[in-house]
Amino acid sequence: MKQLATAALLALTTAFAAHADEPQKGGTLNMVVQPEPPTVMLGLNKLGPVSFVGSKIYEGLITFAPDMTPQPLLAKSWEISEDGLSYTFHLREGVKWHDGAPFTSADVIYSFSEFLPKAFSRTKRVMSFVEEMTAPDEHTVVFKLKEPYAAFLIIFEVTGGTMVPKHIYEGTDIFKNPANDHPIGTGPFKFDEWNKGSYIHLVRNDDYWQDGKPYLDDLYFRIIPDANSRAIAFEQGQVDLLRGGDVENFEVSRLTAMDGVEMTEKGWEFYDPLAIININTRNAPLDNVKVRQAISYALDRQFMIDAVFGGFGKPAYGPMTERTPYYDPSVLTDYTFDLDKAKALMAESGVTAQNGVYATLDLMPLPYGETWQRQAEYIRQQLKEIGIETNVVSVDVPGWVERTTSGKFDITTNFIYLLGDPAMGVGQTYQSDNQLGRGTAANVDGYENPEIDRIFAEAGKTLDPAKRKAFYAQAQEILSRDAPVIWSHAMSYPTVYRSKIKNLITTAPGLNETFADVWIAK
């Protein structure tokens, strides 16, 4: 009898446990979006806050798992031809735009051939590799490439490959189309209301193509411009989710210690942010490789991470991070903090010192808030140790972009997104044909190495993973030794959220995912 009771109890517990994991319908998710985005029409603007909100309204053909394997979304499957020149996508049937019109291959062709190249430089560049795109039927799209491009699939996730409705935008000025104020996508949530300066409200799309989803009734994105106020709003329960950067990193541990609150660093595998220190190799003595290596040895990266970046991040000695496909730590120069070695390198460099000072350089911190300012102070102090004096130059964001992209700097702090494949986000920072006037992730340092150019060009055209691995290992070895930039650390952003929110981060784009699977336990 007792055994039976135990068995019954066990069965009951199991049933409850199963029930707890079963997604529950309903509920409102309150979040913060900062800064307030200028639009939520993700096709037009790819800023962080726009992507965060817009990715619930719009979708791409595919998304990526945390290990960067492509996952179906609006495309249910795809084939890549043997020669890597032809990509055939099979679209899901029965998908509707929020206005009820069907989503078809014509929308895909319109988005990639006309809309996106006008709005987003990355998509424009990738689409320039395309010879032609065709739609054999309503649910099939074929892209024919001029030459193989190993990172081609990357452009099809929601930010690079936002699917926009052809029937609304064709023949109009896409930047001024009234639909931009009331966006029409295919995603699980529909635009409801934007009370400017206060909040953005999205509601459940009852006609969503995944039956029974989304689980949530609606989403609120609150606009709270001050970081301290955002922390208080989370503590008071007015918001249940904070993205990295919503509050200062040093607040994170305090908030995470609260009951029923969790923190994760996942969900950055796609963007893969890497903090770097740009070195203008056009300016002496930064053209001297020993000087650059000396700078690299003079910085204690773990100290920077702990003291400045709130403990989030991992030291970087090369152009890729643990998250990047083809990352190979074995070939990297070991830039573990070593002040003596740094001083020795300066002495060997051939640069002459006057009164113990080798050079006086401008140091321009990235104007993204207190953290970067503090990092610059640390760098300044360490450079002084090895005989380099610095003047800290303060500018606002547009001024920083202007000076960085026109080469008017000696040393500046920066961060870049590696975007899931070295052919998409790594090569651009080191290739000699991609220098000034091409954005802040370009080769603003003026590094020129024909060998590196050749390797990245070859690797981008190579599809065989084993060969690509060999190419990128070679590139990492050369770059790490040459130090055309100083890699600071693989950045990591904490997402702080209440434990009742389930299935929050399950893919590589992290919070820039549709939220169709997110649910709240009652």
Binding site: K46, K124, G197, Y199, D218, D226, S229, E402, N434, T440
Partner: protein, 325 residues
């Protein structure tokens, strides 16, 4: 007739001032490094130069600067302030969305401060050298010296987090259906903390100004004469002291009234109040020329307007000041 001519003269001057403001702000903002296309380039990480040129052409930024200025001034003359580069919408619409929130906040703070400042200033002056004067003077000094954002955060911690009396952020409770009266009360509740915080700063100014002004007038000959005549004390205060002490307050108030439109960046930031100050600040960081210029020009127009009003009010308060061109 003389008054009409005076008014006309002032109007012409006002238009000249606004034109100068427009040209100067246009020049100043263009002198800052980086333009909207640069900002876009920074946001997109990696861009091709052709793309940047297309962006410049779309906004007309590829034209010679004189041509852009001429076009802009001609537009402003027709009350057309152009479109925002970031929002792709007419800037007038954007400002229209935010102006009511700003006016509710700044006007409330301003009126509270004006009334409170007058009462406190007069009280202090009446009891000069005694304890009420000391308390008021120290309080005013404190309000004036404390940084706004700090006062705001402390107010949130005390009244919202600790006591739970008042909402901490925003202008409305979101996600709740309410009757129009309920909505109004809800906004009023949200208004208390930000208006009080912002008001404290103004309050300090008016208190000190009123106290000083009253003290100065109190000792003048005509007040002594009034007392010697045996006039009632109440009447002396109202007709003789206050009326004369009011002039500098009117000047200050009219200057500040013009500034109310410009918003209050710090208060709006701390309390997530959806006003125009934040809009201007964000526009600056985005080099959203049209939006920022329109906010400048409209705010300047209000300052000019209230100065004009002040001149007219002077003549009512003090008939000795004649309106003459």
């Amino acid at each position: 007739m003389a008054q009409l001519r005076y008014l006309f003269g002032r109007l012409v001057k006002a238009i000249m001032v606004l034109l100068a403001v427009t040209v100067l702000s246009f020049g100043l903002i263009r002198a800052a490094p980086g333009d909207p296309a640069t900002v876009l380039a920074g946001e997109q990480g990696s861009v091709d130069p052709e793309f940047i040129e297309q962006v410049r052409a779309r906004y007309g930024l590829d034209r010679p600067i004189q041509e852009q200025l001429f076009k802009y001034v001609a537009g402003v003359a027709r009350l057309d302030f152009g479109d925002s580069y970031q929002h792709n919408r007419p800037v007038i619409e954007l400002i229209g969305e935010r102006l009511p929130a700003t006016l509710i906040l700044t006007m409330t703070a301003f009126l509270l401060a004006l009334a409170g400042g007058l009462i406190m200033g007069v009280t202090a002056a009446k009891h000069v050298g005694k304890w009420p004067d000391g308390v008021i003077t120290i309080a005013a000094l404190l309000f004036f010296a404390l940084p706004l954002f700090w006062v705001g955060l402390m107010a949130i911690l005390l009244f919202s987090v600790q006591l739970g009396w008042l909402p901490a952020f925003g202008m409305n409770t979101i996600g709740v259906e309410m009757s129009p009266i309920g909505r109004t009360l809800d906004v009023a509740q949200h208004l208390v903390l930000p208006a009080a915080t912002l008001g404290l700063l103004y309050l300090a100014t008016y208190t000190r100004m009123t106290r000083a002004s009253v003290l100065e007038v109190m000792d003048l000959d005509f007040v002594r004469t009034a007392r010697a005549k045996g006039l009632e004390e109440k009447r002396i205060w109202r007709r003789h002291i206050l009326k004369n002490a009011l002039l500098p307050i009117i000047t200050l108030a009219s200057l500040q009234a013009g500034h109310l439109v410009g918003g209050a960046v710090l208060t709006e930031t701390v309390f997530a109040w959806p006003g125009i100050g934040r809009l201007a600040f964000d526009a600056l960081l985005q080099r959203d020329y049209n939006l920022l210029l329109a906010i400048f020009i409209i705010a300047s127009a209000f300052v000019v307007f209230f100065n004009l009003v002040a001149d007219l009010v002077y003549s009512l308060a003090d008939p000795r000041i004649e309106v003459a061109a």
